[in-house]
Symmetry: C2
Subunit: 430 residues, 2 copies
């Protein structure tokens, strides 16, 4: 099926990811031609600063008018690696209107407007692919949408943000505090100057929304994702985790309820056992653990970010979209037929590790235990330690709903004998 007319690709954005996409398109041109069945040609590159020197890019291709580029009408595939909501969103819909298919790495946009973008793609019978939007180089969207298409996914639990994993891994291995580990991540280029999107879990929440949508064939909006950052994880939390044979990871967790009738999606730090495959994911690596009815437990591991890894995922999509175009077909679009309700965080059921600062006097444990019992939260283990009138209680619960746990903690705070709730950490992966 080799044909000679090249497929024309418009590259929107030529930064960390875009420059690598352009580079590989040039250096691997022969391979891409063989795999696609036709040559691919870079037809234009839209950027903000046209005068920047861009190695390997023909200056004649560079434009600041991205809109004109996607409206040209002869573009086969638009690769959107600008990021952010606008102008990316309008450019993508304009691309569909003008006959192009789209490959994007834009998790923020996909999480916020995935449904509308998919609808636009479908209306114009075009492809929208975005493997790079979740977990960088790791093939994940395609395995979930296609390889597991005959299976029923019950749980997706992943480390989907490299910056926070780097920080937590540092804290775990060196005993450093959060700020110290963040400073090192910044110095090494693993954290941005403003790390909010990463450390507050916004980036992971966008990915959780995308993953939950695909896994459960249900639209999951960004607002549906419970989100808690990892800025309050302390060295003391790591010490507690170690005592339990655990480490702490920032996890994105998408779950089907036990009765199958609803789903949840959340991002928060959690303790996981050291023998869980996710526990040994080091540095800025990402990994996603998937549980399904038939396949059982799967894990996908690799670099979650970086120009060249992300470009690998973009190019895999580019090849697929080009092949679809040549074959006159489109790949799988949005699948939201299940339309399951997304339950609030209160309905999530898991285990908890709670550290309390309490008065060091008789009867405190009984008081505390009563509060747990009254809220229907069953205690697995309690550890008391105390000296000099100060004492601490570490409670690990059995599985209970987040709502019940929240009620328990509120009641505990009201006890005279409880001086403070030092930390509450969910325990996952057991």
């Amino acid at each position: 099926m080799m044909r000679t007319r090249p497929l024309k690709v418009a590259l929107l954005g030529c930064g960390v990811v875009g420059s690598e996409v352009a580079r590989i398109m040039t250096t691997h041109a022969d391979d891409l031609t063989a795999r696609i069945g036709a040559p691919v040609e870079l037809a234009g590159v839209a950027v903000r600063r046209p005068d920047r020197v861009r190695e390997g890019i023909d200056p004649a291709l560079v434009t600041t008018d991205a809109t004109a580029l996607v409206k040209r009408g002869d573009i086969d595939v638009v690769v959107e690696v600008i990021g952010g909501i606008e102008p990316a969103r309008t450019l993508i819909t304009t691309a569909f209107e003008h006959g192009a298919s789209v490959v994007s790495a834009n998790k923020a946009l996909l999480a916020q407007d995935g449904a509308a973008l998919h609808a636009a793609a479908e209306e114009h019978d075009k492809d929208l692919y975005y493997e790079a939007a979740v977990a960088g180089a790791i093939p994940l969207i395609r395995p979930l949408r296609e390889s597991l298409a005959g299976d029923k996914i019950n749980r997706v639990m992943g480390i989907v943000n490299g910056t926070t994993n780097f920080i937590l891994d540092k804290m775990d291995s060196t005993g450093a505090g959060y700020q110290e580990a963040l400073d090192e991540a910044t110095a090494l280029g693993y954290a941005e100057a403003d790390p909010t999107a990463d450390v507050e879990g916004f980036d992971a929440a966008a990915k959780a929304a995308i993953l939950a949508g695909i896994s459960f064939h249900t639209r999951v909006r960004l607002d549906d994702v419970y989100r808690e950052g990892m800025t309050e994880v302390t060295a003391a939390d790591f010490a507690s985790a170690k005592e339990m044979g655990c480490t702490i990871k920032l996890l994105a967790i998408c779950e089907r309820a036990a009765d199958g009738a609803s789903v949840t999606a959340r991002v928060h730090p959690a303790m996981i056992p050291l023998n869980h495959p996710l526990a040994s994911v080091r540095g800025a690596y990402n990994a996603v653990f998937v549980e399904s009815d038939a396949a059982g437990q799967l894990m996908f591991y690799g670099p979650g970010a970086g120009g060249s890894p992300t470009a690998s995922a973009v190019l895999g999509d580019l090849v697929a979209v080009c092949r679809n175009r040549i074959g006159g077909a489109t790949g799988p679009g949005e699948s939201a037929y299940a339309a399951l309700p997304v339950s609030p965080m209160g309905d999530v059921v898991t285990r908890y590790h709670i550290s309390l600062d309490v008065a060091d006097k008789p009867g405190v444990l009984a008081q505390v235990a009563t509060v747990f019992a009254e809220h229907g939260v069953s205690i697995d283990t309690v550890r008391q330690s105390g000296k000099d009138g100060e004492a601490s209680l570490v409670v690990v619960t059995h599985r209970a709903s987040d709502a019940a746990l929240t009620g328990t903690v509120e009641a505990l705070r009201k006890l005279d004998t409880v001086r403070g709730v030092a930390s509450i950490m969910r325990v996952e992966g057991e």
Copy 2:
């Protein structure tokens, strides 16, 4: 694109895998319909023993005449889960001739006759999918062929046989010998009555041939794969591995040569460092580590066998093939355009761990070291230990070709002072 005419599926084989395929097709019928865009209907089930009770299967569908079933002409997809070369091969080509696409889990057949089967599929413009043939439930073929289609794969190194991983894991964790661990694997159903295909590496070699072919866009025949079983791995080897901070795994390794101009594929036991992601793959699990130019290091992990996990992979393919049929398209076929030469084992470059039984007298080390030097094999470390006139030398080399190592060992055996070569083990993943 919902249409009402159901797609007709012929199931060839209804054993461990086939019965699970049939079960999921029934229990998940609604999901499959939604994901495919049309209902799928089990149109016939070919078996050897028609009178066996098969739960959930309409006896009217059961036949012993698989040939007539694939010749019916109204079959959309043939799912081949009989196994072995014949009649599977003829049934698959007959299926293509009569208008069906094919999903198969048959690694032995794909490794031996993949090129001919792909050619038959292409001739009739049909799909041939076989995700289940390598590493069971783990999405691997699709990520390699599609997600990494824009990247350049340099190395695929995997644990692709669950039986042998179970045995080696047992030996590692309990100190058991090979036979004892094999007996336990057999008792627990992880090893077949005749374990030859697993323990001698035939099963892994078939998978290595398939993986190398896909990864390097080059036909790799089963005969091209160097194969060494794991029946001679001893408790002493595990002790040596531990001393080096390693464990032992049976690995399938497909590599592009450093100059990119040729490839190799091989299966053999090897030491790998404990901190390598493959080292912590326990029990009967499989995992495949992939290194590529742009993506870097990826790993795919999950159950490598079992009826239900394997059925998950078969059904993912079934959904894809059905969708292709409805869309009037076919998925990616064989990609062998690179046609790189497959080099013999002698060209493989790696490190080696060699245990020698030697005479306990002065000058032995110098003699041995001279032999290594004469063959151009550079020594990394040597450890001598001895008592009562018996001594042993453990040599770990730098990277050297297999040919150079073989020459070295031959020469060592001729030395009077070398009483025996207790073991030679490759060291990978550093």
